[in-house]
Symmetry: D3
Subunit: 248 residues, 6 copies
């Protein structure tokens, strides 16, 4: 159930029995020489749709551009400042809450979004408490990072071992290959790839990770892997979402 | 060419010869009893992809949630405040400009975005002038509203006459039917539909437009109409974009 | 009735029977070699006073500095950023609404203010809805652009034809000559004047419009024309205001 | 010399030899039963024009609405929040500084503006230092409060003694009577008028100062007094301004 | 009674009979060749603790970094922008007010904080009035500047005469010597020290006050003086606080 | 070396050979029936001072109030909104960076600060890159959470097992008892204490954690434990800091 493909009376009906919504959030940022710039948004959106189908939950519009300031020294990368992302989340949740939603499950495809999202949730809970919305004290939001699902993580280690790395990973590239098999890219990848260096500013990032990869070998990705990872993520996040929805 | 399906080296190559980019912007808002909540985003995204293909231009990620505060009394509607949207646009254009882009063509599906977008462009030109970007004085942005294309407008009048209305119109609904034929909705539509009342706050809007339509009869829409309108919009906006790109 | 020349008990009385107010908004920006920097504020203020007299309506203080970022490469130009103007309007309307006003008619002298004003109205309606003001859902704001009045536009075309242009126009200069006949300026004006180039950033504007005029010949202006234009604007905006005030 | 009555080439010429500008700032707020709502703006503007003439200095547009949140429980009062006023001042001074101005003398008519103005100056000096303006480290701003001029203060004490009070004072009312003799108001004034209570929030203010006066008897004002006070203020602030302008 | 050394049930008890709180605010800024960078915070905190003990009042956490933008050309100086400080104060007072506090007494050690604090109070009163807090119209805040206490000022004049100066003064240095006798610094101090030059931007400040002192001779300070000044400040501010607390 | 106890020339000297600084950040929030409201700030400050001594590093002023919105339903709790904290950190680091500092190590005592701090670092790296500071691309910031040190964590488990809990823990209470032995509190503690419930809004938190503890038994704390934990934290964070400082 995609919010975008529903009418407002259908949403009104839905809210009679269900006040949960899933919101995919990704990023638009470099993913190395063969990873797609939209990788994080593509994965988050696809998996969110899968979770939405499995759990009969509305899936809201994808936040395509997240917090990726550290990738902006590579062309094609886009980012919100954290303070902007906070306002965006606050705006999203305010109007949905006024309509009656109370459970917000963000399916996230990008590590850099986690801190700003958590900061945004705190700001939003407080903000909602200052408005006159009857149920504002019962609002809950949660981030579900598909790439940190235990089953996904284990499968990635099994498939790629140390070559999974931490950015432009074969596992996320594999999921995009499953979704967009016509957009599989090839390019020479140096076997020497830096890893372990912390993330600071954008120039510094590019200096230390000159082709954009962080310790990964995305050449290992295949669409078949992608399908497996996708299915694991959908299964695990569906369980996680339902637990979140039905918690006291 | 979708930015999301490119790699950063591909963007780097593109920028050698072309510094234009198309950014679709829609809205997530009620569109009456049978119009999809994602109508404006769906139309903008589809038409933007068409223009991107026709003109060999990168199409950036869709801004799915726009400025629709006046629709927020209907469940499922979402909105950014204008001040948030300004910061979002400023963030988007800052990093793209740092990467080398100079021409921003927003293909827009929602009337309520026009003023905030224009305000955002002014704020962004100024902001970019305070950074140390060599070409920041040559940045240009433009809004292309597909529903205001002359050819689209004429076709809509020809097809629907006075029943086109101004929100939840048969023409925009038709385009979504062309894109998502499996999501065509049916519901009884009162022949009495208000029109001509100006837009103020959200409660006031719902009072005057109780089912969300503004003077329109979206039951007239067909996927075939949608295809015709889509093609007219792509053609006219492609010309408009190329003129914008190649202007002195 | 100027708010500035009233006492608070007089405003309290007024609000017993009338909740409308007129707010002039202009700009402080270059108007070419012979146009006054205050042109837009002068015209808006004078016409607003005329409308206030004719309709027995309070006229609030003039917003002298508007959104004119694109003129700031010419000395003497001032501007608010759109995001600042939004906060200014929000502050103005919040306190007036708390006092009981519900109808805000902005008489505007500058095209660059239109988008930021409309954005500000949306932001303000929403903001007011979050406060505990009983009548906040009945607040309405409207922009009345004197230079876009049909009668004014026709008269300008009749008087100046193509030489009206779109900035530093003879019609606005004429109104200032009518108001400040002692400040009529003379300077050589090149007959070659650019027109039709869109407005982007400030440096770009000055490059394309080196003396500040956009397609206009303000040397055609006379104080007599100014009086005619002033009277047409007052008449048409008075009607427009009363219609706005008395609408359901 | 009013900026509003100059052309941009005249400003360009002026800047060859003089980089000072005077900016009047007032308020739009209740001034008791017979004081005009525009009192502070009227006084500041009139005196600023006088100082401008006497010192051959450009006088910019009046900031009509200042920081008067504590007066907003009285109808007709308007206010910017301090954080908004800071952005307004920052915007004003940024563009004037880019044009070449370096000395900003604010002639102020309202005590409540002093702290926000000083805060705004600090914020602006810092902000300007982050832009690439060659002379940004030489920018100076100063508030000249006409009602705190020694000569004005002495004359007010001489004329009114303890009945001068601290808001809606006979001295400021007198200046408005001198400027707008046709707008002299009459109303019964209780001889019991509170004084000495500090200023906190708006409701609290009205509770303690129910007719808006703070210890004053504005019935003592005459236009003749107003002229004397005006002349003293113009003289003293002219000296103060020139000292400021010519300081090392 | 330090808030930091209390438990929440102790605060709950306290609020049964007392709704006042003292908040020390200082600065982290250069204080000349021998003054400590923490001078203003150290003094404010120590004196606030003394007043808290004397008046049986909770003392909140010290605001260590204030508004010291003009000192930031000297290494080690830190500052909030005024607009940031306004938000900080607004956040502090919002939650304390929601808990039941109504009287906020800021014991301040730095002149540069006064205007931003007063601006922040105005913004906060207004903000609190928009929330649904029953007693929000009774909130009061006050700044008590220890260095402007009459008894302190007289003692400083008596001890140091003209060599007191206005920044990095012997009196504030003396108080820090009393609090931190192990951190008494020695350095050659030029007898030529500038004074009387107004404060503008940071670079300008350092140009005019090259070693950071403003007309002062802090070499005159002794810990014994510090104790005397400390005791005078505690006594006078305790009286001032109690008067504030018990005012109608 | 405390910044507050240094002079600016001493900081200037320090910067010749060292550009690192430690900034303690805590919180002012309820810590259950016997935990101090200042617990997080007290621990962070004490440990930071220890690390500063051990590593010969300047320790800046403690950020006493952090992001604790979820604790604000308990009296005495204070909080910044995340968006305010971002601006505070941005201000802090801007001026320190302009002075020459490049390595910022935040010793943190409160879990709720982690996400806002990380968000703030991203925002700050970007902001600094837009200023003209030569070394702005080499700026690095890191959070060191004392309570998450491996050695601390192990010791806490060894001492308290499951009764460590996750808020108002015996380990943090023990550290405060070591620092302030005169402020050890006693109160009956229910053996039934909730745990494992996620953190959402403030009202919701208090509903689920009625005395403020999250699964902890702080009655187990002793000053001796506190000393051990303190020493472990100082040792481990000193190593962590030096590694951070000397990393390429
Ligand atoms: Ni990724
Ligand atoms: Ni639409
Ligand atoms: Ni104009
Ligand atoms: Ni006044
Ligand atoms: Ni000091
Ligand atoms: Ni803690």
């Amino acid at each position: 159930m995609l919010l975008h493909l529903m009418t407002w009376p259908e949403v009104e009906d839905y809210l009679q029995t269900n006040t949960g919504i899933i919101i995919p959030i990704g990023s638009t940022e470099q993913h190395g020489p063969i990873g797609l710039i939209g990788t994080d948004a593509i994965c988050a959106e696809a998996i969110a749709k899968g979770v939405g189908e499995q759990t009969q939950t509305i899936v809201g519009p994808t936040i395509n551009v997240g917090m990726a300031l550290h990738h902006t020294a590579f062309p094609g990368s886009m980012s919100l400042r954290p303070s902007t992302l906070i306002q965006v989340i606050l705006d999203y949740l305010t109007h949905l809450t006024q309509a009656g939603f109370t459970r917000y499950f963000f399916i996230n495809g990008h590590g850099g979004n986690i801190s700003p999202l958590k900061a945004a949730f705190s700001e939003t809970y407080y903000h909602l408490s200052t408005l006159n919305i009857p149920h504002s004290d019962r609002i809950r939001a949660k981030v579900g990072n598909w790439f940190m699902c235990r089953s996904v993580y284990q499968k990635a280690k099994e498939l790629y071992g140390d070559q999974e790395g931490s950015h432009a990973t074969p596992s996320e590239v594999a999921v995009t290959q499953f979704i967009y098999p016509e957009s599989i890219k090839k390019a020479p990848l140096s076997p020497d790839v830096n890893s372990g260096y912390p993330i600071y500013g954008a120039e510094d990032f590019r200096t230390h990770y000159p082709d954009g990869r962080m310790g990964s070998n995305p050449a290992l990705a295949t669409p078949e892997h992608g399908q497996q990872l996708y299915e694991l993520a959908v299964k695990e996040l569906s369980e996680s979402y339902l637990k979140f929805l039905h918690a006291d």
